[in-house]
């Protein structure tokens, strides 16, 4: 990679980083100062402003992983394999956030930590698929076969994403449908807080995938050099 391109990437990276940090500050202000406390659930409803954008960031991560994996299967270019790994890791991180913040809200709203609601179940399933992907990739230096198998697993995980999204509309469950389906919507201040949070989480997901893919490319380079040394 040329020095000019590296410098340009570094500038874009810094810009996205500062914009994301500023957006997070604004989001927290909107959530805790501007947005009103919800009438029925009280203050615990404010978990929603991080829970829903985390689910959206999870979609981004898993989606990027599936795209990277598909392109890798077609071109066999390690660069796309790195994108697949980075997307899977970041998607799993946000999936974990969703699966931990959701029960904290549910304990107050539903009276239980967990219920086998379609959306909860399909989200858990997606988390398990991509956890299997990461487990497969963490077994030392993955060979070509492991990489291809993991790429197939990421594509299989992609099938679950529309199931998560449409589960609240197609199947009967208890998960709220405030912003999807036929929900009653939100007050304007709540919409602003949620909208800013969505943008902040998008920036965060992009930054994390970018950084993780860069590290993965370096690891690929290390593996290549090691192999080169072995054959000398």
């Amino acid at each position: 990679m040329s020095r000019t391109r590296q410098s340009g990437n570094s500038t874009v990276w810094s810009l996205v980083l500062f914009a994301t940090l500023a957006l997070f500050a604004a989001t927290l202000y909107m959530i805790f100062v501007v947005a009103p406390v919800e009438q029925q659930m009280g203050i615990v409803q404010k978990i929603f402003y991080f829970h829903v954008p985390s689910a959206y960031a999870m979609y981004i991560g898993f989606g990027v992983s599936a795209v990277g994996s598909a392109v890798y299967l077609l071109k066999r270019d390690p660069k796309w394999d790195a994108v697949g790994v980075a997307g899977a890791e970041v998607g799993t991180l946000f999936c974990l956030i969703v699966l931990l913040t959701g029960p904290l809200w549910a304990r107050k709203a539903w009276g239980v930590w967990w219920t086998w609601d379609p959306r909860l179940t399909t989200t858990l399933l997606a988390g398990m698929i991509f956890a299997a992907y990461l487990a497969l990739r963490s077994m030392g230096d993955a060979g070509e076969v492991e990489k291809r198998f993991a790429a197939g697993l990421a594509l299989f995980g992609l099938v679950d994403l529309p199931l998560i999204h449409f589960s609240v509309q197609r199947w009967r469950g208890v998960h709220p449908t405030v912003i999807t389906g036929k929900g009653g919507g939100l007050e304007s201040e709540m919409y602003w807080a949620l909208g800013l949070s969505f943008i902040a989480f998008t920036g965060l997901a992009v930054l994390l995938i970018w950084a993780r893919a860069s590290v993965e490319r370096q690891r690929e380079e290390t593996a290549r050099l090691r192999l080169e040394l072995m054959h000398r």
Binding site: I43, V44, T101, Q218, E228
Partner: protein, 106 residues
């Protein structure tokens, strides 16, 4: 005339009696035995353990705090892990590059 007076008395009696009965308050049970029986009925005779979410009430603030702490903690751990990976890979790259340079010099 007597018949008229008798008819008026009868009519008034018929009008006043229902009103008088309607206004009269119910007779209170003032006996000691009755009062004791009521108190005994109100007294708990068994203890039943509450099952399910009604057993305790968790304040929403604590749950909210826990949720936001989880988000920041997981992000921080992920960044730490990525930093560790990056450092490890950079060291490995440096070591391998040095080995390659050394083997080329030979």
């Amino acid at each position: 005339m007597r018949a008229l007076i008798a008819a008026l008395v009868l009519g008034c009696t018929m009008l006043i009696t229902p009103l008088a009965l309607a206004d009269s308050p119910p007779e209170p049970d003032t006996t000691d035995a009755g009062a004791q029986e009521d108190a005994a009925e109100e007294r708990a005779t068994q203890f039943v353990g509450v099952r399910g979410p009604e057993a305790e009430s968790i304040p929403g603030g604590a749950l909210l705090l826990a949720a936001y702490a989880v988000v920041w903690a997981l992000l921080f751990l992920f960044l730490l892990r990525m930093r560790g990976l990056q450092r490890q890979t950079a060291e490995e790259l440096e070591r391998l590059s040095a080995q390659i340079r050394a083997s080329e010099g030979q």
